[in-house]
Symmetry: C2
Subunit: 192 residues, 2 copies
């Protein structure tokens, strides 16, 4: 199982955003939607061994955690609006501290990064990290930030996590996810 | 200069599609929009040395070629609707056999794959190709298909092109583009 978590610093935590304005009104939700897509989609199938978690820190009631299970998810297509629509449905559900399923394979709870990194040991994908291609053993769980850097408080939380980079340039989170998964694919497929 | 061309077998060749239904009514235009985004966007900037060309083969007047110049393009954001909106504007322009600029850095002409591959020597990104990481010299120009395989006629046209693969699994075109560009980034940045 590969777990991918992306922090959306301004991503709305209520479901009343418009699917026609994912970048603006929804707080760069477009980026999180593409992260879901690059985490879960193959050309003709899905990555059933991947879970992707979004941490929404925008108004009105952050933090919210939404998890897409590649094994269980249904009704998801690769386009941004499709993931956005399932995120809206997840945010429309009354939520507590335990995960509840909003649509097949999509789960939502109140809570954020502090709780998530207490549950799993994450590596951070960050342009300042060690080259992932050179890692002797690949991590199982990866944490990324959206278009904004981690805050001081978040950096404190992840200060003990190993850091890996996928290349010499700073990339969008969805592109970094594609590169990380390719490294897993290559090692699983004997392509190294 | 890196040139990337993607064939959209069902992508509409008129601009009257809805930005709210890029996958359906517009003929998997969502995939072409993500290909534009993964070709041109870095985290905080654009790939000025990349051109991405879309070949639209859907109704009503195919083939149409639309080219985004990373050096010149303006008004483009990373979300699918943004590229979709510039494609609509390009398709609204009366077109001839020479490229005309529809918005800053976006160009459109009548014509398709046969003409394009006569202009530049393309390599094909295809899961059956040689591992791109192992290429002694990286190609400059890359051709990809959308969610559909190349037709028999297209396969004939590209039969003389070298073929490269980015990994052991069949991936969406935008993900393959991200992986290909990363190989260029790594070699330029001394990361091999």
């Amino acid at each position: 199982m590969i777990r991918i978590a992306v922090v959306g610093h301004r991503a709305q935590s209520s479901g009343d955003f418009s699917l026609n304005d994912l970048p603006g009104g929804a707080g760069r939700m477009d980026l999180l939607c593409r992260a879901v897509s690059s985490s879960l989609f193959l050309s003709h199938g899905m990555r059933r061994d991947v879970e992707v978690t979004l941490i929404l820190l925008g108004p009105p009631e952050p933090p919210v955690t939404i998890m897409f299970s590649g094994e269980k998810v249904r009704y998801l297509n690769p386009d941004e609006r499709s993931a956005g629509s399932l995120i809206r449905k997840a945010l429309a559900l009354p939520r507590g501290t335990a995960f509840r399923e909003s649509t097949r394979g999509v789960f939502v709870r109140q809570g954020g990064l502090e709780r998530l990194i207490a549950e799993y040991p994450f590596a951070v994908l960050d342009e300042a990290g060690e080259d992932l291609r050179k890692a002797a053993v690949l991590p199982e769980n990866y944490l990324l930030s959206d278009h904004l850097d981690f805050t001081g408080e978040e950096r404190e939380l992840v200060s003990g996590c190993p850091k890996f980079s996928v290349g010499p340039l700073a990339l969008h989170a969805d592109h970094a996810i594609t590169l990380m998964l390719n490294e897993h694919d290559r090692r699983s497929g004997g392509w190294t």
